[in-house]
């Protein structure tokens, strides 16, 4: 089978994946939506989600259109001929690039929207199914998560394959990836701000000030909180992994495109072959995720992930034996996927209450919140170690095995990233399951379902938290490898335009770039977290106002105004995105055009290093504080209401924007910065001040 045929196999794989996602969507919709009360609670969440999505996608559509027009204009000029025939105008190139950008943004939006849509429908049905059995509830929620996972990989493989077939240029797929990443960044950051605004405000007033339990329908922010779970963890995470998935493939395609003429096509297509295999592996792996009535959902999810890995590696081995790919590529991809899974599980060590970090943080909470913060933060810092070592090992092995096969070592690193992300269909399915069961639990509370339903929901929810921790470690590590490959791709694009990058730390301009790059992820994180505190402050005032003006809310004789909180969270999240968006898209361009390609290389290096460190620290420390609090809530160290619990609540509140707002957005930030640099590299190579 020649390599072009593989592209058609990719299209077929994408269509099958989307078809299965659509089938599962309608299967979910056919399930029992429950009692009138359950449906009413579900309708509040659906309405809140629609309010946010409408605002988000209206804003993003406007932004995508503006950026599309700018891209169309800029890429209509061919600057490569500036030294010979002067700048030539090629409107077709600009239109193609803009179209690819918009299609990328659209695919990312569709994946996120489908995920949100099915999540808000699935959570009521999961709560209803939990009345019958754990088994049914698990199956429903996992298949609903699979709608997002399969739609996402299907759209990505389909989009990349079609664009490459039509244009024959990896650079056009870069436009697709840039569109996907820009939307993902804003969806993830906006969703992160939204969800934590609602969560923190609901907890601080509801749980701490008033003393009402989580998900209590008397809390005016409870619907916003539930909507936030979908917005941040389903739509945001879906768009985020979509962007990493596409970006990793594009980075390798760009590297493949820089090979000598006879080799170009094969090595540009190989990442798409890997993605296609991963799609089929995910489709098969999902079939193995089953749980018996007395079984545990966590091992069932892990079993699905491991079987998917085995299927993927087995398929790769077959391709290697058939000489479709070199053994070096097989080993690079295999190292990538194995490392990804190991990193995911080590993240779980730092955030699971069965292990020392969480137990120790809970124990020291008896000495007050300051010690809780110091301990959790320190374990967060330690948690960086296994992931970084994993990335280092994957980098070195994949580099060496690729080199051993006569391929550029950096190509092997890119393949490792693609290998790691190739089973995203399965990973995202397991991840999206988490917020669905979390919301199902909330709905069960709000709808007044019985204790048995709540307990089943708790069992489902606990597995969702573990899946979430694994996905975070996985996605951050994959992003680290992806941006390393993108960094190399940037260097190749610059080189293709006649400039050999000199990223030497002895050059002051490079040092300037490195420092500015290293500064960006912390600054980006700070802006997002300040947005959360600012918006949460407004919402806290609103919740207090409602409790004060309507005492009947607490007494259960009056309904709170949920819509006001939903509206506040949505407005606040979207209006906070302007500066972070500029940092991601505008700052690399400013650095490139002002300080030049070498400084931009240093900038990307600095941003990658602090970005990965901060992302791991924030995701793991936040998860650790959250689970330390939950551990105490099981009755340990004085249980709820004790001094230890109060200290742990402080830790959890600090950790909330760490793990759900800033941390997960950082990998998208560094991906977007790398993509925008590669995309504009030909122009920056021509126009720069220094």
């Amino acid at each position: 089978m020649d390599y072009q045929t593989w592209l058609y196999v990719g299209i077929a794989g994408g269509i099958i994946s989307i078809a299965v996602a659509v089938y599962l969507y309608f299967w979910v919709m056919r399930q029992d939506p429950g009692s009138e009360r359950t449906q009413q609670v579900g309708s509040w969440i659906r309405s809140g989600a629609n309010t946010y999505l409408k605002r988000l996608y209206t804003s993003l559509a406007t932004l995508a259109l503006i950026l599309g027009i700018i891209i169309a204009l800029i890429f209509s000029f061919n600057f490569e001929t500036i030294g010979t025939t002067g700048v030539t105008i090629e409107p077709g190139s600009g239109v193609i690039m803009a179209a690819c950008f918009i299609i990328g943004a659209l695919c990312s939006a569709v994946a996120g929207y489908m995920g949100m849509r099915v999540a808000v429908e699935a959570n009521v049905r999961t709560a209803t199914a939990a009345q019958k059995s754990l088994q049914q509830a698990f199956r429903l929620s996992f298949y609903a998560g699979a709608v997002l996972g399969l739609a996402m990989v299907g759209l990505a493989v389909l989009g990349m394959s079609i664009i490459f077939i039509l244009t024959g240029e990896a650079h056009a797929v870069l436009g697709f990836s840039f569109g996907a990443s820009t939307l993902a960044l804003l969806a993830k950051a906006g969703g992160g701000i939204y969800t934590k605004t609602a969560d923190i405000a609901a907890d601080l007033v509801g749980k701490v000030e008033i003393g009402i339990p989580e998900d209590d329908p008397r809390n005016p922010a409870v619907v916003a909180d539930n909507v936030g779970d979908n917005v941040g963890d389903v739509a945001g995470m879906g768009a985020d992994i979509f962007d990493s998935y596409v970006a990793s493939a594009v980075a390798v395609m760009l590297l493949g495109a820089s090979f000598s003429t006879g080799m170009q096509y094969k090595y540009t297509v190989i990442p798409l072959i890997l993605c296609t295999l991963g799609t089929f592996a995910s489709l098969l792996g999902i079939q193995f995720v089953k749980v018996k009535e007395s079984g545990k959902p966590g091992p069932a999810l892990n079993r699905g992930t491991i079987i998917t890995c085995i299927i993927f590696v087995g398929a790769l081995l077959v391709l290697s034996l058939l000489k479709v790919i070199e053994p070096g590529i097989f080993w690079s991809a295999a190292v990538g996927i194995v490392t990804g899974v190991i990193i995911g599980f080590t993240s779980d060590y730092f955030t699971n209450d069965q292990y020392k970090p969480v137990k120790e943080t809970a124990r020291v909470s008896t000495s007050g919140s300051a010690v809780t913060i110091i301990t959790g933060f320190s374990y967060g810092l330690i948690s960086i170690v296994p992931s970084i070592i994993g990335v280092v090992v994957a980098t070195l092995i994949s580099y060496s095995v690729a080199l051993g096969d006569g391929l550029p070592g950096i190509y092997g690193i890119g393949v490792a990233a693609v290998g790691m992300l190739s089973i995203s269909g399965m990973i995202v399915s397991a991840d999206a399951y988490g917020p669905i069961v979390d919301n199902a639990r909330g709905i069960a509370e709000m709808a007044g379902m019985g204790q048995e339903v709540i307990e089943r929901s708790d069992v489902l929810d606990s597995a969702g938290n573990t899946a979430k921790a694994i996905t975070k470690g996985f996605s951050i590590s994959a992003a680290a490898l992806t941006v390393l490959a993108l960094f190399a791709a940037y260097a190749e694009v610059v080189k293709a335009n006649g400039i050999d990058l000199n990223i030497s730390l002895r050059e002051p301009i490079v040092i300037a770039g490195v420092l500015l790059g290293a500064m960006t992820p912390p600054l980006f994180s700070a802006l997002l977290m300040l947005s959360v505190t600012h918006n949460a402050f407004d919402m806290i005032e609103e919740i207090r106002r409602q409790f004060h003006e309507k005492p009947g809310i607490l007494a259960g004789t009056e309904d709170p105004d949920y819509d006001r909180c939903v509206g506040l969270a949505a407005r606040g999240a979207l209006s906070s995105l302007l500066l972070p968006a500029f940092l991601a898209v505008g700052l690399p361009l400013v650095i490139g055009f002002v300080l030049g390609p070498d400084a931009l290389g240093g900038f990307l290096g600095g941003a990658i290093f602090t970005g990965v460190i901060f992302a791991l620290l924030m995701a793991n420390a936040g998860g650790l504080w959250d689970n330390a609090k939950k551990y105490i809530e099981t009755g340990k160290f004085g249980g709820p209401g004790s001094d230890a619990h109060k200290a742990a609540v402080v830790g959890d509140t600090v950790g909330d924007p760490f793990k759900d707002t800033a941390g997960p957005s950082l990998n998208t930030l560094i991906t977007v910065m790398s993509l925008v640099s590669s995309l504009f590299a030909p122009i920056i190579a021509v126009f720069h001040l220094f």
């Binding site: 003393g211 204790q451 009947g552 607490l554 007494a555 009755g635 249980g639 209401g641 230890a644």
Partner: protein, 254 residues
């Protein structure tokens, strides 16, 4: 509308209300800006009970619906020395309201628990609120406080609850605190050690300890009595509460 008499323990007061106990608990804990949140514990008092110490007729006269038809939530009859002027026989169910307004009813039991071996921790709830450790079982403790004081301190009537001590009950020095939520545990250990080794049967741990207590720390139940009669209101087990009163249990576990 039916009128109810409630003997509130937090704070000590006799109240007339047109609300039923669940509604009153919710109102008392979260329904009024006078007390916007916080636990409530109250007994329903037999409506036929009479004591000339209280101006009950006057209170009943004032307890009429609001102009818009809403029931009257509370008319305070007395806020001073209330417990001692109510016969324990006139007490009906005891209601425990969580800080967010969910109410659980406890019925009294004729069977008063035998004191088990080891040390005890008592939270006095009304009319005074110290936290006390003792070698005495609940019955003997009640007797010491109300009937046969060995010191100058006694009260004519008392409501108290025994709290869990876990391993500290038998081994105050080395026993694990084991997830009990008490503050200043070293002082608690010292007090327990003192009553175990010295010639004192009780020792005060905290003179003005907040009577707001995590309900899950209650060992067996609530005791209320005066010089004539002691009544006991057993607390259901956590398993029973979880199974039969899940909403209250979850709220009380906050």
């Amino acid at each position: 509308m039916e009128t109810h008499f409630y003997l509130s323990l937090l704070p000590e007061a006799l109240i007339v209300s047109m609300l039923n106990p669940e509604e009153f608990g919710s109102y008392y804990a979260v329904g009024s800006s006078k007390k916007s949140r916080g636990q409530a514990m109250f007994f329903e008092v037999d409506p036929n009970y009479q004591n000339s110490y209280f101006h009950l007729d006057e209170a009943l006269k004032r307890c009429v619906p609001h102009e818009d038809g809403r029931p009257k939530s509370s008319i305070y009859v007395s806020v001073y020395r209330v417990l001692e002027h109510i016969d324990p026989s006139a007490l009906l169910d005891l209601y425990l309201t969580t800080q967010d307004g969910r109410t659980l009813a406890l019925k009294s039991s004729e069977i008063i628990p035998d004191g088990d071996e080891g040390l005890h921790l008592y939270q006095e709830i009304a009319p005074v609120t110290p936290l006390v450790v003792s070698r005495l079982d609940p019955l003997s403790f009640y007797d010491l406080i109300v009937n046969n004081p060995t010191s100058l301190i006694s009260v004519p009537a008392i409501t108290f609850a025994e709290l869990q001590l876990g391993e500290l009950a038998s081994d105050p020095e080395m026993g694990l605190l084991n997830n009990l939520p008490y503050s200043n545990p070293d002082h608690l250990r010292q007090c327990l050690s003192d009553v175990k080794t010295k010639f004192v049967s009780t020792k005060m741990v905290d003179r003005t300890h907040s009577p707001v207590i995590p309900y899950r720390t209650i060992k067996n139940g609530f005791f209320v009595g005066n010089q004539e009669k002691l009544r006991y209101y057993p607390m259901p087990s956590a398993e029973t509460l979880r199974a039969e009163n899940y909403r209250w249990f979850r709220s009380a576990s906050m």
